[in-house]
């Protein structure tokens, strides 16, 4: 079986360094404008958070039936996005998917930054953020302990673990490339890269250890991909609320997370490739592969949507029935249908070769899927809460500018981190790409 070549056919190993390190040169004016824009997002978000902390959570739109608003929507959204990185770098590594090579660095970076943003939201949504450390089980003289029966506590551990492992995986994976940078730059910059290169010299022994460590991390990160989002889903599934209380939530959320993560990779990859001229390294084929992942997960998500409605009808539980009727035809019904079109109908286009090989179309689909997946979390959290058991307490929730401001701040934070990363570190794993090209050209294959 002849191996498919994922890079530009005329790309040779010697060009890789130059191509990947091109963006690390002195930035353009546009870069500074973008950075200023992202910082202004962050500042606005910080102002909103300040207002919320000092005036009370009332400045956000939450109320009695709907005690969780878009803060938790954002949390699940960012955690979901954080999934593709580890999936692409760890699971696909274990499965020896060769196409992951040029996109894994970007996906990993996305994971780390997204999970950073995600981790903020459960804190932001607390009534008393200044006591957030009470969620950690630390020894204290008052014999206060955390409640391990609460899914929120599982969440704390799941997210913190995931953040730690994915960050380590990210740093370890960059070691050889950091050494390249260390050698290329001089002065303080070289010293900083040197710290991340951790004395890498590229000896055979180091390569051996590195490969082993990488494999171990990949093996360690793989179950986390499944566990984190399963636990996030249990925040909902473990409650008694109709629309949340469901056993399919774990696989449903995990596939949804991978779905949204893949969409986000495309959304980020498309402009990045253009701005940094990485067309030779990141080709249409990469987009096609990622879109195929999207298609698979989209089908699983669609199946889950339909199963939920089927169970509501088949289970004859009046609370569940009302909840799902309200989801589709209630006050927030429009968002449900938008979600369904974006997440279940549009991705079906990927079945057609014309579409899955057209980067522009994939880019548009990916953006809509991002919106759709955000709406999915919104629909699940808000519409389920808006009409639950007691009709007296039914209500409506509208996010306020404070909540949107904080979301914007998180988007700014994410993009700022990502832009800085792209400016200061190689966005493509140089060493891996080189190895890959070498294999492709010589026909050598370990697998």
């Amino acid at each position: 079986m002849s191996k498919e070549n994922y890079f530009a056919p005329d790309l040779i190993v010697d060009q890789v360094n130059a191509q990947v390190l091109e963006p690390l040169k002195k930035p353009s004016k546009l870069f500074y404008v973008m950075i200023a824009l992202f910082i202004s997002f962050i500042l606005f978000g910080a102002y909103c958070l300040y207002t919320q902390i000092f005036e009370g959570l009332g400045v956000a739109g939450m109320n009695n039936p709907i005690a969780w608003g878009i803060y938790l929507t954002n949390f699940v959204f960012w955690v979901g996005i954080a999934h593709s990185g580890t999936l692409i770098s760890a699971i696909l590594f274990l499965f020896r998917s060769r196409w992951r090579t040029s996109v894994n660095r970007i996906a990993e970076a996305m994971t780390v930054f997204a999970v950073t943003m995600a981790g903020l939201f459960p804190l932001i949504h607390l009534g008393r953020i200044w006591f957030a450390y009470w969620l950690l089980p630390y020894p204290n003289a008052r014999h206060l302990w955390v409640n391990f029966r609460s899914p929120l506590n599982w969440d704390v551990f799941a997210v913190v673990t995931y953040m730690t492992v994915s960050t380590l995986f990210f740093i370890v994976g960059m070691m050889p490339d950091m050494a390249v940078l260390r050698d290329r730059f001089k002065g303080i910059r070289s010293k900083i890269y040197g710290v991340f290169a951790m004395g890498w010299r590229g000896t055979h022994r180091q390569w051996h250890h590195y490969e082993t460590a990488y494999l171990l991390f990949a093996a360690l990160a793989t179950p986390l991909v499944i566990s984190v989002h399963s636990i996030v889903s249990w925040d909902f599934a473990m409650s008694s609320l109709p629309g949340w209380h469901s056993t399919i939530f774990a696989p449903y959320f995990v596939s949804g997370a991978i779905f949204s993560g893949c969409a986000m990779v495309i959304t980020i990859l498309y402009p990045l490739r253009k701005f940094f001229h990485l067309e030779d390294l990141i080709t249409e084929k990469h987009f096609t592969r990622i879109s195929q992942m999207m298609l698979l997960t989209s089908l699983i998500v669609t199946y889950s949507y339909l199963t939920e409605f089927f169970i509501a009808w088949y289970g004859h539980n009046i609370f569940e029935q009302e909840s799902f009727y309200n989801r589709a035809f209630g006050y927030y019904g429009i968002y449900f249908f938008m979600m369904f079109v974006f997440n279940s109908i549009l991705p079906l286009g990927i079945f057609f070769k014309k579409i899955r090989t057209n980067i522009k179309v994939l880019f548009v689909i990916s953006i809509l899927v991002n919106v759709g997946m955000w709406l999915e979390r919104f629909v699940i959290i808000i519409t389920s809460l808006s009409r639950d058991y007691d009709p007296y307490a039914w209500g409506i929730y509208k996010p306020t500018y404070i909540e949107w401001g904080i979301f914007l701040g998180s988007v700014g934070g994410f993009l700022l981190l990502f832009f800085s990363f792209a400016k200061f570190a190689p966005v493509v794993a140089i060493s891996e790409v080189k190895g890959q090209i070498h294999h492709d050209k010589t026909g050598g294959d370990h697998e």
Binding site: N63, S240, Y397
Partner: protein, 966 residues
């Protein structure tokens, strides 16, 4: 100073600081009579109770003032009082918010015409008034005041001049009942009702659960009749023009055309003469009755009222079928020109049904409610307009709210040289005065209320005045000293009590009896029904012969009725009452005009649209609420909105429905009319969404409110059926409740949805009021709410509070153990530990948890009302009903001091205490003799959302649906 070592320095510092501690406690009240508890024995942290009388409405229920550290912090019904029997209505409990109102007048001031407000000292205010009051005729306009105060003021006015006049302007109170009794029976007496003896109450617009006569007393009587006795419960049929709490509670409800109730009643009387064996009229008289009633056929009543012949026949058969009937007629239908006629008609129907001496009686003695007829107020205004009045003193009344033609009143008042207002808070009328003098609230002063039948209720102060106010009597006496009145007001009260004591002929010394009276709250012996027979033969016949059919309007009629929450508008400065959702429609902080869907269709109206209503050349604006519970020719609006000047809580955006009322009066009694005929509706194009707290009234198959038929109850009772607790699997180990296992049982059959429990909860637990915006965002903080759901085509109420689940969904999801289970079966919220994830609220199927979205600020002096036993929740924490855990703890501590367990009834939450109908019971399930232990196996018992296996500690008893026999 060399020998000043550290030890001595600290010692002297301590001495010095102690010496410099200001005298923070107010001087103890100079008690008129010896204190029951000497001041030196008052223990901080211990509540003391003073028996007093509620003066919020003319009913005069007995109250107990709960005093902590010298401040009244709660008002509860006096369990020994014949009217309240422990319960108290929402308005009565909210009297605290008048006492501690932010807008309480804090000092005397002067505001002449458009000049700025000038603060005065008491001395200068009195001196200035003294000089001005010398000349001309003085008019004292007051609301309904205690009998002793009335005689004081009259005496005092007599000292000013012969012509000085006291006018009691209380438009909500009706003289029609005396007049009707005079017409029908020749006795101008008040009625005495005994709903507990009835098995059929046919209620023509008498809102006895809300505003009519004595709501707490009558609700209590009704609830007694609603308990199953002799396999029967009372049936309530409501006939009215608009909807109300009483109507909603009725078993059958009919809507008739306005002003036709008399014809309906008389036609029923006529029908009964021919078709019933029951009537207490002998055959000799029957022919006379028949002759006089023959004009009133069912046909005629049907034509006028809009009820079908079948419906009228059904009503007649009902009256025939039940032996003990009672017909009530109230101001929700009869506040029109011929209102007294309607009440006479009700008297006749009661007479024919033989109700007198059974379910209704005439009170002996002088008429109790001696208020001036509003029709005479016209003459007073005329007098003012003719420059005959030079001084006006307003007290405890607000004609600028209730009087329709404000322009006329304003014009009149301009002519008066000196206007003085004695007021607790500034209202529309007091704001017009030149001099405003702060007077004591009834909680701060002494008084005596004559309840009739030689019953006297005591008004006792619970505390020192909050601000620099004085008793009315003292102010009057300082303005112009009357020689016959003692200088010392307290001396006067003592003399009055002495004379009452002599009148009732008490045994033993006055001192001893007085102490008993102070504890008890008054003297009363109201136990027996006045069985004296009445004779309708003469008056009724001439009435019937001269009866003139009312002219009914085919256009829209506005029913501007008394409000359950604001009464005649007086409650509109109290935030608890605005935040208590309307019982039927759950709107807050606004008063809509309620219209029938037909009307809405005709004018193209939608809910929340603002319409302009005009009538009698005056117009107001109000938002629309559409309901099919109202007669299509009637629009209704409760009094309470549209105050020009009534403090920060009053709602000003919506107009005052009293503006539209006509300036004519009840033809016989001169009572105020609450119906405005031929009202025009115009769209304004504006909108103001109503804030309605209940999401839906359709419970579907949720089984929140459950019902059982009377037949079924009787059958199951005979079988000796008991409720079986469903056994469901448990994941976590069961909680142990060794000593106490608290349980609440709520009998939905007795709950009228009056909302007393909800207000009691606000008062007891310092529940924050969030205002209209807060409610709009769904952040109301009420720990207890009254839900209304449809069951079998009728609406029923259910109090919803924390169910204190045994397997609580909130407890498992809290990551920091801020909500845990106690060993007494309570679900405890640990405010200090709460970080505010709000997961508990999401997971609560009953949605009874309340989150503090904003910090609560208690403005001076509202903070003085806060219960010191309560932890005040900061922003960002969850709170909820605690079953008043602090009350339980106090009871446990007291029991522990005596080395025993808490006895049944010693520890009850505020809501249970306040319930006028006794629908709620509370106790220890581990005590075999407690009330709840006896009720917990009642076959009517069920838990809300039993299917979720939360195992609540609140058990509801199914509502009993009345069914006709046969």
């Amino acid at each position: 100073m060399n020998n000043l070592d550290r030890r001595n320095f600290l010692k002297s510092l301590g001495m010095l600081s102690l010496a410099m501690v200001p005298d923070i406690s107010r001087r103890p009240i100079r008690k008129l009579f010896p204190l029951l508890i000497p001041a030196e024995e008052i223990i901080p942290g211990t509540p003391y109770w003073y028996a007093s009388t509620c003066c919020e409405c003319p009913a005069r229920c007995g109250t107990m003032l709960k005093v902590r550290e010298g401040r009244v912090i709660k008002i509860e019904g006096n369990p020994n009082h014949p009217l309240s029997r422990g319960g108290l209505c929402p308005r009565g409990q909210a009297a605290l918010q008048e006492l501690y109102n932010v807008d309480r007048i804090r000092f005397p001031f002067k505001k002449i015409d458009n000049a700025p407000k000038t603060k005065l000292t008491w001395d200068s205010a009195i001196n200035e008034i003294k000089e001005l009051i010398e000349v001309g005729k003085t008019l004292f306009i007051s609301g309904y005041i205690t009998s002793i105060q009335k005689s004081y003021i009259q005496t005092w006015l007599g000292g000013i001049s012969e012509a000085a006049q006291l006018f009691i302007y209380e438009p909500a109170l009706r003289n029609s009942y005396y007049e009707a009794n005079r017409i029908a029976f020749g006795r101008p007496d008040a009625n005495e009702y005994h709903l507990e003896n009835a098995d059929l109450i046919m209620d023509f617009g008498a809102e006895f659960m809300e505003t009519w006569e004595s709501p707490v007393e009558l609700s209590h009587q009704y609830s007694n009749a609603r308990r199953v006795r002799n396999e029967n419960i009372v049936k309530l049929i409501y006939v009215g023009i608009s909807e109300s709490l009483t109507g909603t509670n009725a078993d059958e409800e009919y809507k008739i055309h306005p002003k036709t109730e008399a014809v309906v009643m008389l036609s029923l009387a006529n029908w009964l003469l021919d078709n019933s064996q029951k009537s207490n009229i002998n055959d000799r008289e029957k022919s006379t009755w028949r002759r006089n009633l023959q004009a009133f056929t069912l046909q005629k009543a049907s034509e006028m009222s809009g009820l079908s012949i079948e419906q009228l026949t059904h009503l007649g058969k009902q009256l025939d079928q039940y032996p003990n009937t009672l017909i009530l007629c109230g101001d929700a239908v009869a506040a029109h020109e011929q209102g007294t006629d309607s009440i006479v008609a009700a008297n006749i129907l009661n007479y024919i049904c033989g109700s007198y001496g059974n379910t209704i009686a005439l009170k002996s003695g002088q008429p109790l409610d001696a208020v001036d007829a509003p029709v005479d107020f016209e003459a007073v205004i005329e007098e003012i307009l003719n420059d005959q009045i030079s001084n006006i003193i307003f007290y405890n009344t607000n004609p600028f709210y209730t009087y329709p033609d404000k322009e006329r009143l304003r014009k009149a008042l301009k002519k008066v040289p000196l206007k003085i207002a004695l007021a607790t808070t500034l209202n529309d009328t007091a704001a017009m005065a030149d001099y405003v003098l702060p007077v004591h609230h009834t909680i701060e002063t002494w008084g005596v209320e004559d309840l009739g039948n030689e019953d006297y209720s005591l008004v006792q102060p619970g505390m020192q005045p909050v601000f620099d106010s004085k008793p009315v009597e003292v102010v009057l006496q300082s303005i112009r000293k009357h020689t016959r009145l003692p200088n010392d007001f307290e001396q006067y009260i003592e003399n009055e009590w002495q004379s009452i004591f002599n009148e009732i002929g008490g045994n033993g010394s006055f001192e001893k009896n007085w102490k008993e009276m102070l504890l008890k709250g008054g003297v009363w012996n109201r136990t027996t029904l006045q069985s004296a027979q009445v004779d309708a033969s003469q008056g009724a016949f001439s009435f019937l012969q001269n009866y003139e059919l009312p002219k009914v309007s085919e256009r829209l009629t506005l029913n501007a009725h008394l409000s359950h929450r604001y009464y005649d508008g007086v409650g509109a400065n109290k935030s608890w009452l605005w935040e208590l959702p309307h019982q039927l429609y759950h709107y807050v902080w606004d008063v809509p005009v309620r219209v029938h869907p037909n009307v809405a269709r005709e004018y193209g109206l939608a809910e929340g649209e603002i319409v302009s209503l005009s009538c009698n050349n005056r117009s107001i604006e109000a938002p629309v609420l559409i309901t099919d519970q109202i007669h299509p020719k009637v629009i209704a609006m409760e009094l309470g909105s549209g105050h020009a000047n009534y403090g920060q809580h009053a709602v000003k955006e919506t107009g005052n429905p009293a503006d539209l009322l006509p300036l004519n009066f009840d033809r016989i009694s001169g009572d105020k009319i609450f119906l405005a005929e031929n009202v025009e509706i115009k769209k304004t194009g504006k909108r103001r969404d109503l804030v309605r707290l209940q999401g839906s009234y359709d419970q579907g198959e949720r089984k929140i409110v459950q019902q059982i038929s009377l037949k079924e109850v009787v059958r199951l009772h005979k079988q000796g059926a008991v409720r079986e607790e469903p056994h469901a699997p448990k994941i976590y180990p069961e909680h142990e409740h060794e000593v106490y296992d608290w349980m609440m049982v709520i009998d939905l059959s007795l709950c009228t949805g009056c909302g007393a429990c909800a207000v009691a909860c606000y008062a007891e637990n310092a529940v924050p009021v969030v205002g209209k915006q807060g409610c709009k965002h769904g952040r109301e903080m009420a720990w207890l709410r009254l839900e209304k759901f449809e069951v079998d085509g009728r609406y029923r109420f259910i109090p919803m509070l924390c169910q204190q689940c045994e397997i609580a969904p909130c407890e498992t999801v809290c990551p920091v153990y801020a909500t845990v289970h106690s060993n007494e079966g309570l679900n405890i919220q640990v405010y200090n530990r709460c970080v505010g994830t709000r997961y508990c609220s999401n997971n609560c199927p009953y949605k009874v948890r309340r989150f503090n979205y904003y910090p609560t600020r208690w403005e001076e002096p509202t903070n003085l009302q806060l219960n010191p036993d309560i932890y005040h929740r900061p922003k960002g924490v969850m709170e909820k009903c605690t079953f008043c855990v602090h009350r339980l703890r106090r009871a446990k501590e007291e029991a522990k001091m005596q080395g025993r367990l808490v006895k049944d009834g010693e520890a009850i939450p505020a809501c249970v205490q306040s319930c006028p109908t006794g629908a709620m019971s509370f106790g220890n399930l581990n005590n075999p003799d407690s009330r709840v232990t006896k009720m917990v196996n009642n076959f009517r018992g069920y838990h809300v959302f039993e299917v979720l296996n939360t195992q609540p500690s609140v058990l509801y008893l199914k509502n009993i649906k009345h069914e006709d026999k046969g």
